[in-house]
Symmetry: C2
Subunit: 185 residues, 2 copies
């Protein structure tokens, strides 16, 4: 993954911010044809900057989507109870990905995934966060579900509802956490 | 939803089949710009046929995706045990939506959902099927999970993996069924 545009300093960061902003505006406007020349013109950069950095438009689109969907320094809740940790975490994810701008990015990212890939950066981030909460639960002597169960039964339904434009509220997110904990009781 | 093209007979069905096939080919080829004139030309029909039937291209795209993702007369397993019913059902869904052609349609459908809608035809179909299996489990005196739990913890993770191009195999599908049943044990 490339540097996030929110990180301060340097010319290359200013260029990256301009590129990411241009892509965000084009996706947000539902642009039909997002090409390197179109992005470069809007960002005010030379198209060769794009051709050098990304193999194709989909790769750039995905970097932008990932940057929009995961935030620098997003901390994992540490409340002393896995149930409370997962509840707060699910709330943050649900509120974040249901914002119209983020939902649009998320769908653009899905559309860009034309071929099967072995990993997905969004999932990797969520997997690491879940692993941290599960590790702490083990240390406290709790019987947590597995990381994969948290991905399958909390993360997947949250994202599923957003990508299929189904309603998603806090109550739903809390029920998912309740369900995954009921599996190991 | 419109009639499915697989239903035999009649001129209107032949026209619909030609239109759906044209859309499928264009989506499958990763066409950038899928418009009514482009579809009409490939299908060999008059563009007014399309303008009369669908409000816009996204509506047509969604009908095609739904037709590709749900099948006429798809029967719900009835084995005498909810665990076996759900296992067979999850297998059918997983095998169906991981086929490259269907995965492409699914992602095209996600991309078309630019605004929040209250219902999703794919989910509705799965909800009805789950309700039938849950009803029979109740009749047998089993303690089944709720229909929403089956959607959240079996259907959602299956579709999530496909739309994010993550691996999905039978073992994974079976674990989801095992997990959702463990919630009510």
């Amino acid at each position: 993954m490339t540097d996030r545009p929110s990180r301060p300093g340097g010319r290359s960061n200013r260029v990256l911010t301009a590129i990411y902003t241009a892509v965000g505006e084009l996706v947000g406007q539902g642009a039909d044809k997002i090409s390197f020349p179109v992005i470069a013109e809007r960002a005010g950069v030379n198209p060769t900057t794009l051709y050098r950095r990304w193999p194709d438009v989909n790769a750039l689109l995905e970097d932008v989507a990932v940057a929009a969907l995961t935030r620098d320094g997003e901390s994992v809740p540490d409340t002393g109870s896995l149930e409370q940790d997962l509840t707060e975490w699910a709330d943050v994810i649900a509120r974040d990905i249901t914002r119209p701008e983020r939902a649009r990015y998320l769908r653009a990212m899905v559309a860009a995934r034309v071929d099967l890939v072995a990993t997905c950066v969004v999932t990797d981030t969520r997997r690491e966060q879940a692993a941290e909460m599960v590790r702490r639960a083990h240390e406290r002597g709790e019987q947590p579900p597995t990381v994969q169960q948290i991905l399958d039964h909390v993360v997947a339904p949250l994202y599923y509802n957003v990508v299929f434009a189904l309603p998603l509220d806090d109550d739903h997110a809390h029920r998912l956490v309740h369900d995954v904990l009921a599996m190991v009781r």
